[in-house]
């Protein structure tokens, strides 16, 4: 599909299939129509109902303000698509250009987008995960069940994993006056995403709000009663806690299994693609008709030395969807790269936490302005003497300033942009836990290699 003529024909009456009918899928569909694509558009999704927004699930929904079903996403335009919902795709046949559905149907396409996101990592022991009172939070149904369980006023809620989602849920439960225990294998909350220094701040914040925070422990067993209801949790340090509700917040698993035999470059960190969202095949060749966007994408970022980065950020899903859609209907010369600096937010314990850049791509961190004890500050991250990320606690209006420092590879530590130089403005080592911990709960991961990846064997064809 190289000539401009063929492209025009494709735009007029080509077939696009989008697998994954959530944030990235919907935004890509809207962008395709916005770019003048008038051909057939098929949305495949394993969830029922219209695309909805997930961030409110662990915030507005759990506080009881908004019902779980009430986060349907607005539409920018009528996408005029055929919706195949409630059935997962379970294979991709690149030779025939067809997506296989679990019910046996085969859906042909000219170009397709993979936007299957991640799912919650379940509690590893099946019988324990099935106990009444044990939850994960990824879907509307999950949030609905948990909201009901906490509204019933359980004697104690146990949160397993103190990444962003776990910490947000702990915060909501405390707001609702519930006793909360948080168990975290790492040395502090948020440590996988933001490192040890911010982890300490987050730990203080949780304790100040009455959370029974236990770090450096693993939950070894969830114990139920004769009726299959959760009663107690056992910890690796020999401790136990009685709880009626447990929330498993151990991060996500990328939904890539259905692509295992597709010939695409797929691994635990997602589907590898170029900066223009075009998927790579197993040999590292870029495909021209298969695109990837959102949480399931793993793409190189020039700002971070072309390292492959996997993100679980809302804004990234929106941006990649728009870039993938644009590139799908453009010639090589008109394609856009995804060059933006990652951005993330979280709301917990009354504090607005925001980040720009890739905090895990750092060797040092410094409080660049404000005061940690007031929980109103910006911390800057640096790698080999240049600014690579920044995180703000109740100080978000400064992040654009740091975004520009990142974009221009400004020297680290950066000068304080305001006269009120913080007292603790000395860089310290950033100190992230190892990759196994990082995989659980961090929302951005620099993926140097795939621990579970298969090796590619070079085979000489012919002769």
């Amino acid at each position: 599909m190289s000539s401009a003529h063929t492209l025009q024909r494709f735009k007029r009456d080509g077939r696009v299939v989008i697998v994954g009918a959530s944030l990235a899928g919907l935004r890509a569909a809207e962008a395709l129509r916005g770019e003048g694509f008038t051909g057939s558009l098929t949305m495949i999704g394993d969830e029922l109902g219209e695309p909805y927004d997930r961030p409110p699930l662990s915030k507005q929904v759990l506080t009881g303000w908004v019902p779980a079903g009430g986060t349907t996403l607005p539409r920018r335009c009528d996408i005029d698509a055929e919706w195949l919902l409630g059935v997962p795709a379970d294979g991709l046949d690149l030779a025939a250009d067809q997506v296989r559905l679990a019910d046996g149907r085969r859906i042909p396409f000219d170009r397709m987008l993979i936007a299957t996101g991640v799912r919650a990592r379940p509690w590893p022991v099946e019988e324990e995960a099935a106990l009444d009172g044990v939850f994960v939070v990824r879907t509307r149904e999950d949030a609905d069940g948990l909201q009901r369980a906490i509204a019933a006023g359980p004697s104690r809620v146990l949160i397993i994993g103190a990444g962003f989602t776990g910490s947000e849920i702990a915060s909501v439960c405390r707001e609702r006056g519930l006793p909360v225990t948080v168990a975290e294998l790492g040395p502090a909350p948020l440590v996988g995403g933001l490192g040890a220094m911010i982890g300490e701040v987050a730990a203080d914040m949780q304790r100040a709000h009455g959370v029974d925070l236990r770090c450096g422990v693993r939950v070894t067993r969830l114990e139920g009663d004769a009726h299959g209801r959760l009663r107690r949790a056992h910890f690796s340090d020999g401790g136990t806690v009685d709880a009626e509700v447990a929330v498993v917040a151990l991060g996500g698993i990328r939904n890539t299994e259905w692509l295992r035999d597709s010939g695409l470059a797929v691994g635990v960190w997602g589907v590898a693609c170029d900066a223009g969202c075009r998927a790579f095949d197993l040999n590292g060749l870029v495909t021209d008709d298969i695109f990837v966007a959102g949480d399931v994408a793993r793409s190189p970022n020039p700002v971070y030395e072309y390292r492959f980065i996997s993100l679980e950020h809302w804004a990234n899903a929106v941006e990649q969807a728009e870039i993938a859609a644009h590139n799908m209907v453009s010639t090589q010369a008109d394609r856009w790269p995804h060059l933006s600096i990652p951005a993330f937010w979280s709301i917990q314990f009354g504090v607005n936490i925001k980040s720009v850049g890739v905090p895990t791509y750092a060797d040092e961190v410094v409080v660049a302005q404000g005061s940690v004890s007031d929980r109103r500050f910006v911390a800057a991250y640096g790698y080999q003497g240049r600014v690579t990320a920044a995180v703000s606690f109740n100080n978000a209006k400064w992040l654009d300033h740091y975004r520009r420092l990142i974009e221009t590879a400004a020297p680290f530590p950066p000068p304080c942009p305001t006269p009120d130089q913080p007292v603790d403005a000395k860089p310290v080592p950033v100190d992230f836990p190892g990759p196994t911990l990082l995989a659980q709960g961090a929302t951005v991961v620099v993926t140097g290699h795939d621990p579970g990846g298969r090796r590619v064997t070079a085979v000489r064809q012919g002769r």
């Binding site: 908004v66 009528d78 709301i347 607005n352």
Partner: protein, 75 residues
């Protein structure tokens, strides 16, 4: 009606919370919480809030937006 706020863009200026307090609230000093699917009765308020956001961070459903003031949502 359906609303989503791009909170990566939002800078907590609270204009929206002032104009449509039932749909937008501040949580703590600068975090915004909003009702993603507010009641249709709040429509006028929400559209005014979207139009007033200095960062154009509030997206309102286009399908229902026929009577909205121009430029209420980012494109």
């Amino acid at each position: 009606m359906r609303v989503v706020v791009d909170l990566s863009r939002c800078q907590g200026y609270a204009q929206c919370a002032f104009l449509a307090p039932d749909a937008f609230r501040m949580h703590g000093e600068e975090a915004l919480m909003y009702a993603p699917n507010p009641d249709d009765a709040q429509r006028g308020q929400v559209l005014r809030a979207a139009a007033a956001c200095p960062l154009q961070a509030i997206l309102v459903d286009r399908l229902e937006e026929r009577d909205a003031p121009v430029g209420t949502s980012p494109s």
